[in-house]
C-alpha cells in the first residue's frame, strides 16, 4: 500500500516537472552537448570552408600562457641602452615573439619589471585572460557591495513611515527598466566634460575632483560599470531582503528591546542571523548576475578601452558571433563552465561548513 502511494507520488512528480525538464533539455542540455562537440572542431558560423576535427587545439589557444624574460637592448659597449628619462631600453615583446618560432601564435598580454629584470607575459589569446580577470574582479566587487547596499535600503524602506512605499518603488524602478536604456542614460551621466556626475563632483568638492574620464579610460571604465550595476541591481535585492525582513516575527524585536539591545545590536544579533537564507540567496544570485555581465558593457564600452571591461560572456559572443568562430567560442564556454563549476562547489563547501558549525 505504502509502496504504491510512493510510486504514484513519483509519477506525479515526473509529470509536474516534465515541462521544465523538457525545456531544460532543449535549451540547456542539448546546446551544452553540441557546444562540447563543437569545441573540438574549427566550426565557423557561416563559411564555405568545411568543418574539421582539430582535437584540443582550441583549448590550447585559449589557455596557453608563458612568462618570458625580455633582454635589454645593448649599445656597442655591451651596456644596456638608456633613454633620456633614465629608463633601460628593452626589446619590443612583439619582436621577441616573432623572432622565436617557439612563440608562434603568441601575443603580448602584458609586460612588467621585477627583480631588476624585464618580463613579458604572452598568451595565445590574451583577451581571454583579460576577460577572466575582469569578470572575476567584477564579481568580487559587486557581490558584497550589492549585498550591503540592498540590505541597508531594505532596512530603510522597512520603516512604518507614511509614504515609504514611494521610496520602495523608486529604488525598484532601475531593476525593472531595460538595461540597454539605463546604460545609455548613464553614458550621458558619465560624459567627462558635460556629464552630471563630474559636474556634481566638481561642485561638492569645490573643484578638487572635477575630472574623471569614467568610461573613457582603462583605469576607471570597469569601476564605472560596477557603480552602474550596483545602482541597477540593488533595487531587486532590496525587495528580496524586504521579504526576508517582513518574515521576521515582531516578537523577536520586542524580546531584543526588553533585553536592552540597541538598534545596532538588534541588527547584528537578531536581524542578520534571521536573514541567513536570504543572504545566501542574494550572494548566489548576484554572483550569477555578475558572471553573466554583458548588456551594459556592450552598450557602454564594447569591452574597451584596451580590453579593460571585456567580460567572458562578451569575449565568447565576440569570437563566436562577430568573428564567426563557433568552435572556438564553444571551447571558451566549456572552460568558463568548468571555472564556474569549481566556484560553485567552493561556495557550496563554505555554506555547508558554516551550517555544521551552527
Amino acid at each position: 500500500m505504502k509502496k504504491q502511494g510512493y510510486s504514484q507520488d513519483n509519477f506525479f512528480g515526473w509529470l509536474m516537472s516534465s515541462p521544465a525538464l523538457l525545456l531544460l533539455t532543449i535549451f540547456v542540455i542539448i546546446p551544452l552537448v553540441m557546444g562540447l562537440g563543437w569545441s573540438f572542431t574549427n566550426k565557423r558560423l557561416i563559411s564555405p570552408l568545411p568543418t574539421e576535427y582539430i582535437g584540443l587545439k582550441n583549448y590550447d589557444s585559449i589557455l596557453a600562457i608563458k612568462l618570458i624574460p625580455i633582454d635589454p637592448i645593448l649599445d656597442e659597449n655591451g651596456k644596456p641602452q638608456i633613454d633620456e628619462k633614465g629608463n633601460i631600453q628593452y626589446f619590443r615583446v612583439r619582436d621577441v615573439i616573432r623572432a622565436n618560432p617557439k612563440y608562434q601564435d603568441f601575443r603580448l598580454y602584458t609586460e612588467f619589471n621585477a627583480f631588476g629584470n624585464h618580463f613579458g607575459i604572452i598568451a595565445k589569446d590574451p583577451d581571454f585572460y583579460r576577460a577572466l580577470i575582469n569578470t572575476t574582479l567584477y564579481v568580487l566587487m559587486i557581490v558584497p557591495a550589492i549585498g550591503i547596499i540592498s540590505l541597508l535600503l531594505a532596512l530603510l524602506v522597512n520603516q512604518r513611515i507614511w509614504g515609504v512605499s514611494i521610496f520602495r518603488v523608486l529604488y525598484f524602478i532601475p531593476s525593472i527598466t531595460s538595461i540597454s536604456v539605463t546604460s545609455v542614460v548613464w553614458m550621458f551621466l558619465y560624459n567627462p566634460d558635460q556629464g552630471l556626475i563630474n559636474q556634481l563632483l566638481q561642485k561638492i568638492s569645490f573643484g578638487a575632483f572635477g575630472f574623471s574620464p569614467w568610461l573613457q579610460s582603462a583605469d576607471t571604465a570597469l569601476l564605472a560599470i560596477i557603480l552602474y550595476t550596483i545602482w541597477q541591481a540593488s533595487g531587486l535585492f532590496m525587495v528580496i531582503f524586504l521579504g526576508g525582513l517582513q518574515d521576521i516575527p515582531e516578537d523577536t524585536y520586542e524580546a531584543a528591546k526588553i533585553d536592552g539591545a540597541n538598534p545596532f545590536q538588534t541588527l547584528l544579533y537578531v536581524v542578520i542571523p534571521q536573514l541567513r537564507n536570504t543572504i545566501i540567496y542574494v550572494v548566489i544570485t548576484s554572483s550569477i548576475l555578475g558572471f553573466r555581465l554583458f548588456t551594459q558593457v556592450d552598450v557602454m564600452t564594447k569591452g574597451g578601452p584596451e580590453g579593460s571591461t571585456l567580460t567572458l560572456m562578451m569575449h565568447t559572443v565576440n569570437e563566436g558571433f562577430r568573428n564567426q568562430k563557433i568552435g572556438y567560442a564553444s571551447a571558451i564556454s566549456i572552460v568558463f563552465f568548468i571555472f564556474i563549476l569549481i566556484l560553485t562547489f567552493t561556495q557550496r563547501k563554505i555554506f555547508k561548513s558554516e551550517n555544521v558549525l551552527e
Partner: protein, 460 residues
C-alpha cells in the same frame, strides 16, 4: 529548520549550476522574427480565383537608425504595393548599424544560420564580400534588366562585384567631405575651397584648424562625430586620413597580410596626426550628442552625406560643403554604402528584383537622396537632380566620387568584418590614450590570425 535550510541551499546551488550552463551555451542572439505574413485565406475561397489574384509575399529587412531614411523606405514600400498587384512587400526594420557587433549584422548572421533570412535585405558595401563568400547572397547578373544595368554608374557597379558577379544594387553612393559654417570660416579669414581641384593642402588644413578654433563662439575646430562610438564610422570616416598619407589597412595586392600596412610607418604617422586633433583641442572625443556642429560648437564637421540635410536645415545659407583635404600625399575620401541584395534561399527573387527596379526609377532615387543627401548612383537620377549638378549644394560629393584617385573603397575582401573591428577597436583605444604602435600591431596580428584561420578566404 536545518533541513529547510539545506533544501534552500541545494536549490540555490542548483540554480547557479543551471544558470552557469545557460551562460555557457554559445550565445546566439535571437534573430528578430520576420513579420508574419498575412494568412492567405485560400481554403475558404475557390482556389482558381485566389491563385490568380493573391499577391505573392516578399519580405525585406532594413537597417534602422535613421528616421528619415526608414520613413522614405516605408513610403516607397507602400507605393510599390499600391503600384502593382502581383507582389506584396513586408518591411522589417532591425536596429543597429553596419559594424560587426552591432545589432543588424548580428541579426543577419543569426538568420543566415537559422535559415530565416528574408528575400531582400540591405547591407553596408564592404560586407557584401563576406556575405557573398559565405554563400547566402544570390548573384544578380541574370535578374537585372539590361536598361537598369546600363543606368547605374559603372564605378558603383564594379564595387558591388565579388568573384566577377554582381551581388548588390544601390540607389546611391556615399559622400564624405567636410561641412563648414560659412559665417565662422569667413570670420576666421580662411579660404573656402569650391571644387575638388582647389581643396586645402595638408599644411593649409592644419592652419585652418588652428585659425578657426574659438572663433564665433566655437569650443573647438571640428566635430568628428565621435558620439557614434567605436564602430564602422571610425573605419569609413577616418581611413581616408590613412590613405591620404599613403598607408592602408591591408596589403591590397594580395589580401594575405595586414602586417606592415595597418601598423606600417605611414599609417602610424596618419593615426598620430589624427590623435593630435584631440590633444591640440581641435576636436573632442566625448561630444555629449549629435548636435555639436548644428549648435555652433565647431566651425567644421567631418561630414557623411546623411548629415547634410540636417545641417543645411539648421544653417541654411551658412552651410557649405568642402572637399576632403590632402592628408600628406593625396586627397582621399571613402565610398560605398548600404545596398540591396537578394538572398540565396529567396523563393521570390523576381519579386525582390521588381522592388529593386521600382526604387531604382529616377524619381524614387531622387526621393531617397533628397532626404538623405547621398549621391545618386544612376545616370538618369543625376541628370534630374538639382543638388548634385555642377554648382549644386552637394556637387562636391559627386566630384570626389568621380575621381578614382580620391574616392577609395574600403578593403575588398570577405575578411572585412575582422579588419574593420580590429581597426576601430585599436583607434578607439588610441584616442583614449593607448600606445599607437602597440595597438596597431595588435590589430595587424588579429587580422593576420583571422586570415590564417580562414585559409586566406579562398574563392570557390
Amino acid at each position: 529548520m536545518n533541513k529547510r535550510l539545506a533544501l534552500v541551499i541545494r536549490f540555490c546551488v542548483l540554480t547557479l549550476f543551471v544558470a552557469s550552463i545557460a551562460a555557457c551555451s554559445p550565445a546566439v542572439t535571437q534573430a528578430p522574427e520576420v513579420t508574419e505574413a498575412p494568412v492567405v485565406t485560400e481554403a475558404i475561397l475557390p482556389t482558381d480565383i485566389v491563385s490568380a489574384e493573391a499577391p505573392i509575399d516578399v519580405t525585406l529587412w532594413f537597417h534602422g537608425g535613421s528616421v528619415g531614411e526608414s520613413d522614405t523606405l516605408r513610403a516607397q514600400v507602400e507605393d510599390f504595393n499600391a503600384s502593382q498587384t502581383k507582389y506584396r512587400m513586408t518591411i522589417n526594420e532591425i536596429p543597429g548599424g553596419a559594424a560587426a557587433g552591432s545589432g543588424y549584422n548580428d541579426a543577419v548572421n543569426a538568420a543566415a544560420v537559422a535559415g530565416t533570412l528574408p528575400d531582400l535585405l540591405d547591407f553596408d558595401g564592404p560586407f557584401l564580400f563576406n556575405y557573398a563568400w559565405g554563400g547566402y547572397l544570390t548573384p544578380l547578373d541574370d535578374l537585372i534588366p539590361a536598361e537598369l544595368k546600363a543606368d547605374i554608374f559603372p564605378s558603383v557597379l564594379d564595387s558591388l562585384k565579388y568573384d566577377g558577379k554582381i551581388y548588390g544594387i544601390g540607389q546611391y553612393d556615399s559622400g564624405l567631405a567636410l561641412c563648414g559654417n560659412k559665417a565662422i570660416l569667413e570670420e576666421a579669414g580662411v579660404r573656402i575651397p569650391t571644387s575638388v581641384e582647389d581643396a586645402w593642402t595638408f599644411a593649409e588644413f592644419n592652419e585652418v584648424l588652428e585659425k578657426v578654433k574659438g572663433v564665433g563662439g566655437t569650443e573647438y575646430s571640428i566635430d568628428l562625430k565621435m558620439n557614434y562610438g567605436a564602430g564602422e564610422w571610425y573605419s569609413y570616416g577616418f581611413t581616408p586620413v590613412i590613405w591620404g598619407n599613403g598607408g592602408d589597412l591591408i596589403d591590397r595586392s594580395t589580401y594575405q597580410t595586414a602586417d606592415g600596412f595597418i601598423n606600417g610607418e605611414k599609417t602610424v604617422a596618419a593615426v598620430t596626426w589624427f590623435k593630435s586633433l584631440f590633444d591640440n583641442g581641435y576636436a573632442t572625443s566625448t561630444p555629449p550628442d549629435d548636435n555639436e556642429f548644428v549648435n555652433g560648437k565647431a566651425a567644421l564637421g567631418w561630414c557623411g552625406h546623411w548629415m547634410t540635410t540636417t545641417y543645411y536645415d539648421a544653417l541654411k545659407e551658412n552651410f557649405v560643403l568642402i572637399p576632403m583635404p590632402n592628408f600628406g600625399e593625396r586627397q582621399a575620401t571613402g565610398n560605398g554604402t548600404w545596398v540591396w541584395g537578394i538572398t540565396k534561399d529567396s523563393k521570390n527573387p523576381e519579386g525582390a528584383m521588381a522592388f529593386i527596379e521600382f526604387i531604382m526609377k529616377p524619381e524614387e532615387v531622387l526621393r531617397t537622396v533628397t532626404q538623405n543627401g547621398a549621391v545618386p548612383a544612376t545616370f538618369s537620377a543625376t541628370e534630374q537632380s538639382d543638388l548634385f549638378k555642377k554648382g549644386g549644394r552637394l556637387s562636391i560629393f559627386g566630384e570626389q566620387l568621380a575621381r578614382v584617385d580620391i574616392a577609395t573603397p574600403r578593403p575588398i575582401t570577405p575578411g572585412y568584418p575582422v579588419i574593420t573591428s580590429a581597426f576601430y577597436t585599436a583607434l578607439d583605444n588610441i584616442i583614449k590614450g593607448a600606445d599607437i604602435q602597440t595597438e596597431l600591431d595588435a590589430a595587424a596580428d588579429k587580422i593576420d590570425k583571422d586570415l590564417q584561420d580562414n585559409s586566406f578566404y579562398p574563392q570557390k
